[in-house]
Amino acid sequence: MIAALQKPALQKPALQKPALEVQGLNRSFGALQATCDVNLTLERGARRALIGPNGAGKTTLVNLITGVLKPSSGRVLLNGEDISSSSQADRARRGLARTFQINQLFRGLTVLENLCMTIGERDGNCNNMWRSAGAKRSVIDEALNHLESLRLVDDALKLVRELPYGRQRLVEIAIALAQKPRVLLLDEPAAGVPSSESHLILDVVASLDPDIAILIIEHDMDVVLRFAKQITVMVQGAVLVEGPPSEIMNNEQVRAVYLGQESGRHG
């Protein structure tokens, strides 16, 4: 159901080129090297998990890829095009969407308005100062379709700030999907959600359009193993190792640095 709705906005992807390519990315905050010569590739339709202990620089990497932060050096390529010097908004318009680790929503607006706003900006409607925002039925219908696929229609007219946190996390994902991205970066989509509800979010993530290249930051190894076909492990700002889950799970270095430390948490 979701897959049918999530056709990428542009239908001519350069097939031979990876959806997202990160080359030699560096970023430091003062003396702290937060990102250290990171190389990362997302093929079209990739399902890659980015794991690593707290402070490994995962969110920093997402911020560098999306343009929130400027790298000290290195390049970011989206479908083979260099977007290193593009603004955050420009990257979003080219099909790079993300969710935030901590919700970034229009809290004082309704869920439906949150979605309509996204669709409006995506389609470039928001330059219009004269027509009424509600006049485009197609936008409202599309917004409702997105909400329906995430079972959020009941909440369409509620203000975001009135929703429980778990529902807000779903709105966060709904917005990213409404952007019709070709590359989607999910920063701990189930963070802060009680485990009784997190399965709903993870089901949604698992059933996303196979054409979208997805990078997910996640601590829960069960989720990572269920979702990811490739895993990248980051430690202290650098990529320690990457490969398919089976390799990563048996990697001595990973066990020592990451899983050893985390095993207490996730058994």
Binding site: F100, Q104, W130, S138, N145, V153, D154
Partner: protein
Amino acid sequence: MAASDSHKVAASAERSQLRERAADYLLRRHYFHWPEALPWLIAIAAFFIFPERMTFGGQVLIMVLFALSLDLILGYAGIVTLGHAAFFGIGAYTVGLLIARFGWSEPISSLIAAAALAGLGGFVSGWFLLRYRGLTLLMLTLATAIMLQETGNLRSDISGGYDGLPGLVISPLFGVFDYDLYGHVNYIYVLAVLAIVFYFVRRIVYSPFGQALTGIRENVWRMHAIGSPVHRRLVAVYSIAAAIAGIAGALFTQTNAYVTLTVFEFNNSATVMVMLILGGTGRLYGAFIGAVVYMLLEDYFSKLSPTFWQFGIGLLLVLAVLFARRGLLGLLEDAGKYFKKKVQP
């Protein structure tokens, strides 16, 4: 659309009903609601009930217009500025200088010139300043207004300095209606301008552009992330608000037939912000209630106690901030909801 159609068929009747209700909310939000007629009816009624006080009435409407322009940027886009008087001043001086230095006294064309120049001022300063937020922006906007005022002071040979440009004679409106001593013509003129500008502002607020402004106010990070050209939008609305403030300033000069450099003063920027907060930000009619209540109280208190009148205003503002966070209009809305509940439990 094929996907959405098959969706609808599959959906239960209850579900599609839910969708309709949700869609209706957005489709009808911008419709005219009858309480909106109230302020306009009052404005017209005032003309007949207090014919001898129309000069004051014109001043009130000008402040409504000024507060409305601030609402567009403060209430909707969330731009906090303490220098909005800069654009009021540009408008006021455009009209003043056109008459005093160029002998151009036709009111409508000079009003348009004032709007254009103030809008240009908003565009240029906004382009540079709107990269900043919060306290930095507050100080920079404040500095802009002071710089304009000091420029006027520096060239007092042109601006008339703090003595201003007194005794300006404005040509009859449309070449027919002369400005009378009681301000009757002026009141109608200002009310008409206010109504026209208000119509434009209302369209902007309910447009997709206006929605994007609300988005910027609510969460600028999210706006960047969904691909919104935030800076461009802010500069656009800042220029529009500046142009409207310029119109208010132009009307101010035309109403008073003089202008001094005090129009640029911090006091002017602060007063209009107090009015708007008092009335309620981000709701269009807050500008009406705020400006009217403020001006009436100022008028009343200053007669009651010419030296101590600001205490009354101050007290009211403290009460509003403490007990009516959404302004007087917010208070009215709450009261309306309360009674609705009482009537149909």
